[in-house]
């Protein structure tokens, strides 16, 4: 009995500390070249899930603008550069910075910030055209960002 309680208490503490360890969008620290050194969740990303986030319209929708040969998605766009070999060009912290908010790396870029909750001009509620709720979530949550970064780290050509 005692033992069970102890385990349960430990699980609760663990869950709580994991939640605390997650960096909120407002608190992300960028280096002066736009990189984000620390994982947003303290948990490793899952590259397979990241691939899905990148290819799914309602999630990252990276293929709207980027060609990524590793992804099985039709009609990949070309507003951004191809991501093949991205991990040869950038390290993990830089890739995390680009996914969180690429404007710190590329001034004025059209690439949307995936982990940002404001300020925005006339933010909407998804694609409904209606006003956003007060607690507008970022496009991707912290773990999805880490998953996409893990996926990008698999894009090596050299």
């Amino acid at each position: 009995m005692k033992r069970h309680v102890a385990w349960a208490a430990m699980a609760v503490t663990f869950a709580a500390s994991a939640a605390i360890a997650e960096t909120a969008p407002m608190d992300v620290k960028f280096t002066d070249v736009g990189a984000v050194a620390e994982s947003l969740t303290g948990q490793p990303g899952d590259a397979t899930k990241g691939a899905e986030v990148a290819a799914t319209k309602s999630l990252g929708n990276c293929v709207a603008c980027h060609k990524v040969s590793a992804l099985d998605a039709s009609f990949q766009g070309n507003v951004g550069p191809e991501l093949n070999g991205a991990a040869d060009r950038w390290d993990e912290s830089q890739l995390r910075g680009i996914v969180v908010d690429a404007k710190h790396t590329f001034e004025g870029t059209v690439m949307p910030a995936m982990y940002k909750t404001g300020p925005f001009i006339r933010p909407g509620d998804g694609y409904t055209g209606k006003a956003a709720p007060a607690d507008l979530p970022p496009i991707l949550n912290a773990q999805q960002v880490e998953d996409v970064v893990a996926f990008l780290m698999t894009l090596k050509e050299e």
Partner: protein, 286 residues
């Protein structure tokens, strides 16, 4: 800091090479002649006010597939002509408490409405910027004693299309100086405002990236001289303001309503980006 600058420049040159290559490869090298007898200018040097932004302006028609382009070349194949014919019929049909039709005041549509579409939107006598829809509703309510039509109602689509056909092949002629200038300035500011959670402006897609693809969508310059257009996707007519509404919504923004002052201002500015091009009088788009 050095890293950031060099990366940005690198990426910028890469993007530039991509977009020019895409343009040459992807934009149709084609001329629009409707019914074999009405040539339409679909490519022109940009107006002076676009210096530093665009060198040439292009109709959205050039960015469409061979099949879609062909539909606009011949009125028998252009689905919007059915709407135009209905508008022409309404033109001479009396309505409202005064028992008058448009024709009673304006004569034949081909004379009374010639060139009107090309000059819209324009400032009215009271100093307000009005779109074609506003002028139509003003006649209906104040001169005919009839009810106003909804901005995106079928009779409004029919009438704006019928009137647009009468400006076919005429150059865009919107006035942007004098009393129009304050509206134009506001529209310009909107055009470059990065709206919504995606933080994209009209320019992000239609100035920086025309010729490129966003997923399956081939980005044009977002010109409006082809409007109203028939959209195959909706199987219906789309007004200028309705298109604006959709584009702003797609930035994950709270959009504006068709018929809002904001969209009138934006319409004037976007129309002025098409100076040099000709009115198509009922385009066809995917």
């Amino acid at each position: 800091m050095t890293l950031r600058t060099s990366r940005t420049i690198l990426a910028a040159t890469a993007a530039f090479a991509l977009s020019t290559a895409a343009l040459h490869a992807e934009m149709a090298d084609d001329e629009l002649v409707i019914n074999g007898d009405t040539p339409i200018t679909v490519k022109a040097p940009a107006a002076d006010h676009l210096e530093g932004h665009l060198d040439e302006v292009y109709s959205g028609w050039l960015f469409r597939t061979d099949e879609t382009r062909a539909m606009e070349q011949d009125d028998f194949d252009n689905p919007i002509m059915i709407f135009a014919e209905q508008g022409q019929e309404t033109w001479s049909t009396a309505d409202g408490s005064e028992g008058k039709s448009c024709a009673d005041c304006h004569g034949d549509i081909s004379e009374g409405m010639k060139g009107v579409r090309a000059s819209m939107p324009k400032v009215n006598e009271a100093g307000k910027l009005w779109s074609m829809e506003d002028y139509i509703n003003d006649c209906r309510t104040n001169r005919m004693g009839a009810e106003a039509w909804g901005w995106d109602s079928t009779p409004m689509h029919n009438m704006t299309t019928a009137i647009a056909v009468e400006s076919r092949g005429m150059p865009v002629s919107v006035k942007i100086d004098g009393d129009a200038q304050p509206f134009w300035e506001k529209g310009k500011e909107m055009y470059y405002t990065r709206y919504g959670q995606l933080e994209l402006s009209c320019a992000s897609c239609h100035e920086e990236n025309y010729g490129n693809y966003i997923r399956a969508d081939h980005l044009s310059q977002g010109q409006i001289q082809g409007f109203p257009v028939y959209r195959l996707k909706n199987a219906g007519v789309v007004s200028i303001h309705n298109r604006f509404k959709g584009c702003i919504r797609d930035t994950r923004a709270e959009t504006y309503s068709p018929g809002s002052d904001e969209f009138r201002n934006l319409e004037l500015y976007v129309a002025s980006r098409g100076l040099g091009l000709d009115i198509e009088g009922g385009g066809v788009r995917p």
